[in-house]
Amino acid sequence: MFIADYSAKNIYDEMFSSEGFPRKSYDFVKTKMESLGGIELVKRSTSAERALMSLGITFTLYGDGGEQERIMPFDVIPRIVPSEEWVSMEKGLKQRIQALNLFLRDIYGEGKILKDKIIPRDLIESSSGYLKQCIGLKPPKDIWIHITGTDLVRDGAGAFHVLEDNLRCPSGVSYVLENREVMKRTFPELFEKLNIRQVYDYPYHLRSMLENLTDVVDPVIAVWTPGVFNSAYYEHSFLAQKMGVYLVEGSDLIVENHKVYMKTTKGLRKVDVIYRRIDDTFMDQSSFRPDSLLGVKGIFEAFKRGNVALANAPGTGVADDKVIYSYVPKIIKYYLGEEPIIPNVPTYLCSEESDLKFVLENIHNLVVKAANGAGGYGMIIGPKATKQEQEDFKELIKADPRNYIAQPVLNLSTVPTLIADKIESRHVDLRPFILYGKDIYVMPGGLTRVALRKGSLVVNSSQGGGSKDTWVLG
């Protein structure tokens, strides 16, 4: 059988234990895949891809051959998270979000954690995500981070770690929902047999979370997109459509008397809640970057006066700064008095002299990332870099140590993946989505991103990564 040749040695594989036996959660799926056989699997994979193409779930590549429209690569072999693992993960994520929210409230308010010297004040004030304009701000219901996409990875022993917190505009949830729809069409027999936890109600949770941000009865809600050229535009319009709310661009909005209105065929209409998918500093030319072409003048002031709710609140970027990230275990302990349920990946801060020395000497063994980089940019994977690249990166670090952190190269876990007509092992991570409204809701599963290039650890879609459906059983 074609799965038999699969090897997963010296690594944590999601489907097979180190002895080569399938894990309990994968038993049924493995048997089924084997009985289908390679040819049938390829056939179903092709039809799944065709469905994604018809649905227009694509992004555009610009290259030598002109424009090319591609679907986001999608692998039909699911990633399964056993329910007992999920229970503790869910708890851990709720704990983390709660603590981070208290942290944001504190540093833009009293600043107790700074006075108690748990975190150096200058680290906060030098973070590019820290916005002075937000000092003293009181967002509705005291919630700052409404939508989070936390990146999780397994280490070689199979333990989950938080790799980073995405507290600004995390993308990918639309792929989770579309992948699931396509998987249901592709493997109905698996869905009939297994008790896979549903994700289709995410947009309803999102909508009621947004409604929770205002006291207006029957509020007008909008998703704010930078526009059709943004790479996540598909997701913006998808979410607006599924929630049944407006999708607006900056030019559709106007602020008058500190209230936000949108331009409609019947004149101006007041907007009460905005789920913004646009960066903090591009939001408002009068409070932040005056050169923004996407912003709406005066919207921040309208927000401060409580005339419009924004999700996520501006200023949250300070908490997903990769330097601040290294303090999250302390943050959890400080505000909740609890031990973190999901640990961080060990992190070296180049702003600390001893860490800096270690990083410069050991860069060939480390992953170094810019504090505010995203999408696989502004980073170096030491073991994969040339001597020259390592030297060049060291200069960058020395020039601005505050801006860099380093972590050991994690041997991310793998999942069997269909490559051409063979099953091979590929590295994955996991991004669950968390909503903070009346309660905290964690979507069961999340986006599994897979590094499609053999041996690669980079899962970002902008770097050739794909995705898999993620199943939480039971």
């Binding site: 018809s54 059709v228 459509q241």
Partner: protein, 322 residues
């Protein structure tokens, strides 16, 4: 509804209606050319005149050969009105307003676009390989284009609320359709010019028939009139109150859509776009085909186009810019 969205809905429908009309124009002309025994000179040029893109055509092609005209109107990337470009733009508009239309509408349109795009690729490759081939699969292609437009309309009718989005769709569709009907009628003017001596001949009859077919009108016309007669055809396509491609019918639909959009009952102040359609509809009611022919059909059709442009600009002014 957002003004920007209304504008995109309007244009999405105009482009689809345009693609449908183009496919019919080309197909009918193609069939006609197969029916004619002798080579009729400049059989294809009137088609380009009809679309109003003659300048661009002459810039891009050296002769009005069938192959050139067909390529210009179907797949030419530089012609903003070719079927391929209409579909690309309709789809781009749909992409920016996806949250306002149903998934099945989007799927129909997206698959339609992918079909045209793939077909175009095959066509371009094979004409590069074998020299230009005119009729290979042309009728099938054009027929699929028409069917896809119809299924887009059917799908919108059945899967979105008949509220503002729907009414702006109708505005776009009927404004475009009225414009294309005037151009179909005008086609005869361009065909007739070089051959006045042929009036009443078999060729003349064939041409009038093909004109009816270009408007998908010949069956409905036959039910109402007993013979093929230029005056009757013009009357049918301009003044008929129940045929969905007549000028009268289109303006009436627009008037209704505008009324629903503004929701303003009689006796209250109305908007300019509504005023423009009502004034024009009343004028059509008072006209008859004899007076139109007395004035000169070609001149009259020019007049309608000016009127349609006027209505169009009032719609833009009232709803899309604020």
């Amino acid at each position: 509804m957002l003004s920007r969205v209304a504008e995109s809905v309007f244009w999405m429908n105009r482009y689809i209606e345009r693609a449908e009309n183009y496919s019919r124009f080309i197909d009918v002309n193609h069939q006609l050319s197969l029916d004619l025994n002798e080579e009729v000179p400049n059989q294809w040029l009137p088609l380009v005149h009809t679309t109003g893109d003659i300048e661009l055509f002459e810039k891009r092609y050296s002769s009005p050969s069938p192959v050139n005209v067909i390529r210009f109107m179907t797949f030419d990337e530089e012609n903003p009105n070719s079927i391929f470009q209409c579909l690309s733009r309709a789809r781009e508009n749909a992409r920016t307003i996806r949250e306002n239309i149903s998934t099945s509408m989007w799927e129909v349109l997206n698959e339609f676009y992918l079909f045209v795009k793939d077909y175009r690729k095959v066509y371009m490759e094979s004409s590069a390989l074998h020299g230009d081939t005119l009729s290979m699969g042309l009728s099938d292609f054009l027929s699929t284009v028409r069917k896809s437009c119809q299924s887009f309309y059917g799908c919108s009718d059945a899967t979105i609320s008949h509220d503002e989005v729907w009414n702006f769709s109708l505005l776009g569709r009927f404004l475009e359709r009225a414009d294309k009907t005037t151009r179909i009628l005008d086609m005869k003017y361009f065909i007739l010019l070089p051959s006045v001596q042929d009036v009443g001949s078999t060729l003349d009859l064939l041409q009038w028939l093909s004109l009816l077919k270009s408007a998908s009108a010949h069956e409905m016309y036959n039910q109402k009139y007993k013979r093929v007669d230029p005056t009757d055809i013009a009357e049918f396509l301009i003044l008929n109150e129940t045929f969905p491609r007549s000028i009268f019918f289109c303006i009436q639909e627009m008037q209704e859509a505008l009324e629903k959009i503004s929701g303003i009952k009689e006796g209250l102040p109305r908007n300019l776009a509504q005023d423009a359609t009502t004034v024009y509809l009343n004028r059509l009611r008072s006209e008859n085909i004899k007076s139109i022919f007395d004035k000169g059909l070609h001149e009259y059709l020019d007049d309608i186009q000016i009127e349609l442009n006027h209505i169009g600009s009032k719609i833009v002014e009232r709803f899309f810019t604020n």
